[in-house]
Structures are given as C-alpha cells and as structure tokens.
Amino acid sequence: MKKISLTVNGQSVTADIPARTQLADFLRDNQLLTGTHIGCEHGICGACTVMIDGAPARSCITYAVACEGAEVTTVEGLDDDPIAEELRRAFQEQHGLQCGYCTPGMMVTARDIVRRFPDADETRIRHELSGNLCRCTGYVGIVRAIRQVIEARRRNGASDGFTARSELGPVGSGHAAANAAEAVAKPAEAVKPVATKARKSAASGDKAASGPRPLNEMQRSLRISGPREQVWEQFEDIAALARCMPGAHVSEIDEAGRMIGVMRVKFGPISAAFDGEADNERVEDAYRGKLFGTGRDQRTGTRVTAEVDYALHEADGGGATDVAISVRYGLSGALAQFARGGLVEDFADRLAQQFAGNLERMLSGEQPATGDGDAGNAGNDVNAVSLVLGVLGARLRRFFNRLLGRG
C-alpha cells in the first residue's frame, strides 16, 4: 500500500492505496466520486477524463500514486463553475447527451475547448473532441452545444483569461518529493499470485494434433559443412535444438523424448514466459522431421504453437548438407488479439530467423548467440535488442549504403 495525498475538488485527501490503483478507481471507489466513468481503460474513449492541475487527462491510464500533491477536479467539482454551467444549459438545449455515460468526460473536454479556443469553429471543435467517444448522439448535439457556448461567450466578450499551464512536464507530476527508498525494499514478485504447482505441459493429450493451426510461416535454407549422416545425428538432440531457440530453457526431457521447458521473450514492456513442451518427430529414412512445440504464458494468457519442419539434403557431393527449414507459428490469447499484428509478426519473424541462425551455428559447432539454455531469471530474457541487431542492422546498413551512394 502507498500513502497518497492530493487535492480532489478543492479538498485535501489522504489515502492508503495499492500502487496499481488507477486514478479513476481511486476517485470512484475511495472518494465515492462516481461521476468519473470508466469506458475502456486504455485511454481511448475519454469517459474517464478529469482535470489534473487544471488540464484534461485520462484517469484510467494515470495511476493515483503519480498524482501526489496534484489538484484533481472531477465533474462533481464543476457544479459551481460558470463555464460548466453554460455548457450544461447548452448540452440540454442541443440534446448533447442521451444515456449520459460519456457526458462527464465530455463536460471536462468541452470546458477545455471553450477555454483554449475562444474562436473555435465546427472543424476545430470536432477535432478537439476526437478523444471523447459518444455512442448515442452522433456528436451532432455535443458539437452544437459547445459551439453555442463559444459563440455566446464571444458575443458577450466573456473570457476567463486562459493561459496555457506554464509548468513543463506531465500534469499531475512535479508536486512531490522523491520516495524511492520505500519502494525498493520489496520486489513486487512477493505479492504476485503464483501457481502453486509446477505444470508439466501446456497442451495435454495428443501433442501435435491438439495444437492450433499455425498461421505464419517463414522459410530458410542453410548449408552446413559435414555429411548428411552427421548432421542428422545432431538433429536427434532435442535439447540442443531447443537451445537454439532464443530464450528457451529446458527443464526436463521425459521418457518419450518430449521436452518440457520454458521460453522467455521480451517485446518492449511486454515480458512473456511460455511454459510448454516440444517434441521431435523424425522420419529416419527420409532425413526429415518436425519439431513441434506449444507453450503458454500465464501472465498474458497467450498461447503459442510452433512447428519447424526440417529436411536434410546432401550437397557438395556429400561433403556438405543443405538444411531446409520452415518455421510456422500461431498465437492465441491476449497477444494475438490486436489489429497491429504486423508488429508481433515482425518480432516473431526475427525470433524465427534467430533460431535459424543459432541452428546454423550449432550445427557448425559454435555456441548459439543467445538463448542460454539455463537462463532462468528475468535478466536473461531474450531481449529483442540483441536479437534484432543482426537482422535489422542489415536493413539499416542497406539503406545507409544506398543513401550514401554505395548501394
């Protein structure tokens, strides 16, 4: 729990709250100011918009602890505000509200528009309203209401002498002294619920058949020096293969040759640890096989399925081996459910390429570049930085070469 003190609608308040408490929840649950509504909790719909230090801000993606010493005003605090009073009348006259759920956030934003843009036209009003969603009115009444207030104030020569906030930095910040010491005492891990039992496998039952159909695919071909028979033997060591997967950690190989382990990846602020299992199905005579793995990240509720088909062909008259690999993977759960899947695909492609690169090094007798087989803690997560330098660096180099006329 964290002790916080701030000003809410002109009153000083102090409370003990968990650090993760959204400002909106603090206002609603702790201060019983339920006029601030929650509509999305990712900063888009605007229903939770309140004023912090006199300027509108999202109370769902602002944490109460970050507002130490700040001045917060909610819709309830606008009862006696003259601009809000004009807006209330105009909203009523222009039918600028129906169900009322977006209305508190609209009032805060509308008031800000009236203050900052005394000359706003309809286009400006609509642009400035873009961060507040209304599903009922089609915005027609809201825009007309704000326009009515702005025009009336212009006619009356009314102005509240608005000047932009002069302090630099995010609203809500800069009011309080440091408090670092307290936080460092205890890593938060201790309060996180953890599974009490170690899990054996993510996908029970008939392994390959039970997995989701992988959706994304990349292919790569490697030439390894050494005869096919020798490379084929190396492909028998599933643990060694697994170690080529960045972030993979093998904890156990069962009697059936199935591998149990975890794969940790880090994608910006997102860290995931995929607990899972992998199997290696070999078609001996044909020198081909399939690695099949499934994993689940308990934290984000994401599941991944990956298949690596490999086929070995003799090359260079038997002195070398061509290894054709094709990596397919599928994601389900939280990390899969975004429209910007291209970013995740780009990341996964880089992982797959890294795997291929490591495989090449392993088969050539070198150590994989990343993917410490015994990596167990957060510090050894696969960091995309190291991971992508090879891939992306090449791209950048190409651009700059072309740029400098050396391409």
């Binding site: 900063g43 934003t109 630099l168 910006g268 990341f347």
Partner: protein, 278 residues
C-alpha cells in the same frame, strides 16, 4: 482490466532512477507520461515489478536554447510543445506535430522522451525527431552519452538503453529561417495509430536534408543527404528531383511486400514533400 501488482518509486534524481533501473533482481520500467505504458499495464501485457516515475526529476523537465540547438528534457509533455512553452527552433515543426498526437487529454501527460523511448513505429516523435536530426542524451548512474535518435531506436519497442540508462533529453538542431519541413500522417481516425507517416526536413543553409518513412511494422526508414532523392543544389526547390521508385524500393527492402501498403506510404511521402515544397 486492472494491472498486475507493481511497486512505485518516484525518483528524485537521474542517479536514483538509474540505480533502481539497474537492479537485476526485479523488472523495473520507467514511467514518464505513461500514456503508452498505462494501457499495456492495464491489459496486463506489461507486468513489471516496479515503476520508476522520472517526471519529478528537475533535469528532465528542462527546455532551453543551447547554442545552435534546443535541449528538451525527456519529460516535456506533448502539450508543452503544442502550447509553445518551449523555444521554437524548428520553424513551428515541433508544435505542429505535437498538436496531432493522440488527444489533448493524452498530450497533457504524454512526454516526448517517453514516446521516443517507447519506439513505436507508428508514433509521431520516432518519425519526426530523426527527420530533424535530433540527438538523444542518454544518462546512466555515472556517465552520459549522446546518440542520434535513429540509432537509439533499435527495434519496435526497443530503445538501445543499457540497464540503468535513461533517455534524459533531446538535442534538436535549430533550423535556419529558410529551412523547410513537411509532415504527413495518415490515420483512419483522428488521434489513432497512423497508417502512414512521412516526415521531411530540408535546410540548405546547414546542408541538411532528411526523409523519414514511418508507421511500418519495423522502425522508421531514415534517409539523409542522398542526391538521388533530394536534388543537388540549394537553389532548387527542395526535393524536386525526388525519385519515387527509389523510395518504393526502400519500402520493399524494409519488408513492405504488399504493393497497396507501399502505395499508401508513398502517397504520404509525396504529400509531405509537397507540403515542404509549397
């Protein structure tokens, strides 16, 4: 959704923050404005043990003219830039770009350094700052370094910061009075993630020209001082020898295999160039 539990620390100095961030027994994330991190925390996609709030560090909310450049502390907010609370050294470019970032309520808390360090390819600053030739000032517990912003960004969502390092600020070169810039961001809806971003800057007096193509699935493409793209003499209108086929090839190289997507990026680029040339 509500975030998984985390601890919160408000750092009083860069050194203090740096020490917290350097710890290897916990996962710590910097909280600058939190306008990108907040949603990820609430969705439980990001589950750090500790948030280190750096917005109270005085050095990080500075804005001052420093010779031929402007120094901006990392925690200057988008709204600060939009409202002209910082000296204008870019012929209005920074303020104009700031005005188009997300929504005002987000701009009041979101910060320029936070946005850059988030390295979202579809965000504004990661595209604009390279176009302006900005440099990132990176500070650790003991040492300080400067690096071009495009080199700071190493992959989507991955800034090249060592453990304990913080993006402390930005050094933005002052444009000459007759320098030109252009910015074109295409979003399906105001304030949402961009489908295409192009930023261009041309400053003949300084011999500086840049093109940035952003909103890809990878980091923005940054191009500079290339005769084949930009024309070779200061007397010419900027970019009038621009060769679209080169840009198209670069997009293909950057992994944009879909021709319609390339088309949209190319249109954005052409319009940014037209804006700068107008």
């Amino acid at each position: 959704m509500k975030p998984a539990p985390f601890e919160y620390a408000r750092a009083g100095s860069i050194k203090e923050a740096s020490e917290l961030l350097a710890r290897d027994d916990i996962t710590a994330r910097i909280l600058a404005g939190g306008q990108s991190l907040g949603p990820m925390l609430n969705l439980r996609l990001a589950q750090p043990d500790l948030l280190v709030d750096i917005t109270g560090i005085p050095d990080l909310v500075a804005a001052e003219r420093d010779g031929d450049s402007l120094y901006l502390g990392a925690c200057v907010s988008h709204a600060n830039v939009e409202d002209g609370r910082i000296p204008d050294v870019t012929n209005g470019a920074l303020a104009e770009v700031a005005r188009g970032i997300a929504y005002r309520a987000v701009r009041n808390r979101g910060t320029i350094g936070g946005s850059l360090a988030h390295c979202d390819p579809a965000a504004d600053w990661p595209c604009v700052l390279p176009a302006l030739g900005a440099r990132a000032v990176v500070q650790g517990a003991n040492d300080k370094r400067e690096v071009a912003v495009e080199e700071l960004m190493q992959a989507p969502f991955e800034p090249g910061l060592e453990p304990g390092e913080i993006l402390a600020g930005l050094r933005i070169p002052a444009m000459s009075p007759d320098a030109r810039w252009g910015y074109y961001k295409y979003c399906r809806k105001t304030g949402e993630f961009a489908e295409a971003i192009a930023a261009v800057a041309w400053d003949p007096a300084r011999g500086f020209a840049r093109i940035v193509i952003g909103a890809l699935d990878t980091l923005p493409i940054v191009l500079g001082d290339n005769e084949r793209l930009f024309g070779d003499t200061p007397e010419r209108k900027p970019f009038d020898t621009y060769r679209p086929e080169e840009a198209d090839r670069m997009l293909t190289d950057a992994g944009v295999r879909d021709p319609l997507k390339r088309q949209v990026h190319m249109v954005a680029l052409r319009r940014a160039l037209e804006f700068a040339s107008a």
